[in-house]
């Protein structure tokens, strides 16, 4: 039985796809058989972030509409053996997805994989609701900014009401907060919301905190998920997040403003 994790946020541009790619990569690096699905039909991005855009032949919509088999559409990652990507269609729109079709695809993947990571589109409409509907766990990606926090709050409300678990009255979806683009320096100067304020409003467990980092942009443009950049702060923070998702107790890093000394770098690096 695979664990289905949706990466969602409501607001666009907060780092859903980057996080989905980094977390799926992190899970696979730890030996978990993982597939990451792009639900952003019409605005396909995950293939770029994963660096497999030149190998896309069939996509999720083709599979749902019976034009291709699942194994034809799944792309095996070049860097990690256990990782597969199921890209979205760039030429269709979100109406091409059906609830029954998504269910069929997830059921088929369920048997083969340990983790199914669903990269949700922005918004709260059909695409986003389909991405979250079958989830067991949710990673709510939030920037330290009031509009992002409010949209995350809205998404949390939908997770508690518009999903299969909610409709069947099963155990609720396990919700994880992932704060991205956190800059302790700007939090200190009052430009950004601080960690405590965000947690107080959203009232869910923190799974990770990703510092604002040049490594993320570099990784996106190179098509290499930032988790592979083990020397970078963002790469380490995603690795920590993956460990917490697997129920390990990892202390929080990168949330305090401090001049990084050689020692802390060594200590931080030595943990992995």
């Amino acid at each position: 039985m695979a664990k289905i994790i949706v990466v969602t946020s409501g607001k666009g541009g907060v780092g859903k796809t980057t996080s989905a790619a980094a977390i799926a990569t992190g899970l696979a690096l730890r030996g978990q058989k993982t597939v990451v699905i792009d639900f952003d039909v019409g605005l396909r991005n995950l293939d770029l972030i994963m660096g497999c855009e030149r190998r896309v032949v069939y996509d999720l919509v083709n599979v749902i509409q019976g034009e291709a088999g699942l194994n034809q559409a799944l792309i095996r990652d070049k860097r990690v053996d256990n990782l597969h990507i199921l890209p979205a269609s760039q030429t269709r729109d979100k109406d091409a997805l059906t609830l029954e079709g998504v269910e069929t695809v997830l059921n088929a993947l369920n048997k083969e994989f340990d983790y199914i990571v669903c990269d949700s589109p922005a918004g709260i409409e059909r695409g986003a609701q389909l991405a979250m509907y079958f989830a067991d766990e949710a990673i709510v990606v939030t920037n330290p900014e009031v509009s992002s926090v409010r949209d995350s709050d809205r998404i949390l409300g939908l997770l508690a009401s518009k999903t299969r678990r909610a409709e069947r009255g099963e155990d609720p979806i396990k919700e994880h907060l992932l704060i991205t683009r956190y800059n302790p320096n700007r939090v200190d100067s009052g430009d950004m919301l601080n960690l405590e304020d965000i947690q107080e409003i959203l009232a869910i467990k923190l799974a990770g905190l990703i510092p604002e980092s040049g490594a993320v942009l570099r990784a996106s443009n190179q098509g290499v998920p930032v988790t592979h950049d083990e020397g970078s702060d963002a790469g380490q923070a995603y690795a920590d997040t993956v460990a917490r998702l697997m129920d390990e107790d990892v202390p929080l890093r990168f949330h305090e403003y401090q001049k990084k000394g050689l020692l802390s770098r060594m200590f931080g690096g030595g943990r992995r």
């Binding site: 059909r126 409010r150 107080e200």
Partner: protein
């Protein structure tokens, strides 16, 4: 679930809604008396009489039978559209239904309060037990307890009685109650108490950050709230028709 039904071409969906509604509180059951007063009002403010839907409240009348059909005809002749009747005895309820009107239980019965024998005056609706022959079980007035965070976009309602929220009400969320609203956490969204017009209703919260506070239709926006009160525990209630906010400590 909306995802399943998107394409099925449904004829309708049911939705809860709160619409502003004019209540016509009848102090007389005599259609002629009503006609005279309506004629006077019509000449004063013709703009109001544009097929305006009204609810006829007969709570103050102590008559088991009403000439409801004639009263409705008088209203329609003055471009008022009776859509429902509130209060009255069982025969009144039956004849409302027969006329195709909705019927609402009397407001006073919905919320039990002390039965003072206040003399009926024109200025003030008297909370007198005119419908005492139709007792309502007190248990129907119990409110609702909600545990957890009320999130942006969510609406939690207790149509009758009080609403207790054990948690925060976040920005963009809305909590409503026929009675009072109690929030044991930060109130960052909108809170509306006394949504059926109960002026005795109040709002209580541990940390005031509300976007909007309203008691029986009297409201204050965040901008109107004294900044010194923000972040404190307060009670909000009507005092001589004015919405007053006072700290609890």
């Amino acid at each position: 679930m909306s995802l399943k039904v998107d394409r099925d071409g449904m004829a309708f969906t049911f939705k809860g809604g709160m619409l502003p509604m004019t209540v016509m509180e009848l102090a007389s059951a005599d259609p002629e008396h009503i006609r005279e007063q309506l004629a006077g009002k019509l000449s004063q403010s013709p703009a109001f009489f544009q097929h305006t839907p009204v609810v006829l409240s007969v709570e103050q009348l102590d008559e088991p039978h009403l000439a409801l059909e004639r009263i409705c005809a008088v209203c329609r002749a003055h471009k008022l559209l009776p859509v429902a009747v509130r209060g009255g005895t069982d025969p009144v309820k039956q004849s409302s239904w027969a006329l195709g009107l909705g019927w609402f239980p009397p407001q006073e019965a919905a919320r039990p309060r002390t039965l003072e024998s206040v003399p009926t005056t024109d200025a003030e609706p008297a909370p007198e037990a005119t419908v005492a022959d139709e007792p309502t079980p007190a248990a129907s007035a119990v409110g609702r307890i909600y545990r957890g965070t009320v999130r942006s976009g969510q609406q939690v309602t207790a149509p009758e009685g009080d609403l207790v929220v054990v948690g925060a009400v976040n920005a963009g969320a809305e909590v409503l109650a026929g009675g009072s609203v109690h929030v044991y956490g930060a109130l960052r969204g909108r809170a509306l108490a006394g949504i059926h017009g109960d002026p005795e209703a109040a709002i209580f919260c541990r940390e005031l950050r509300a976007e909007l506070l309203s008691v029986a239709g009297n409201y204050k926006r965040l901008e109107d709230i004294d900044p010194r009160l923000l972040g404190t525990g307060v009670q909000v209630r009507l005092d001589a028709g004015q919405l007053g906010i006072a700290t609890l400590d």
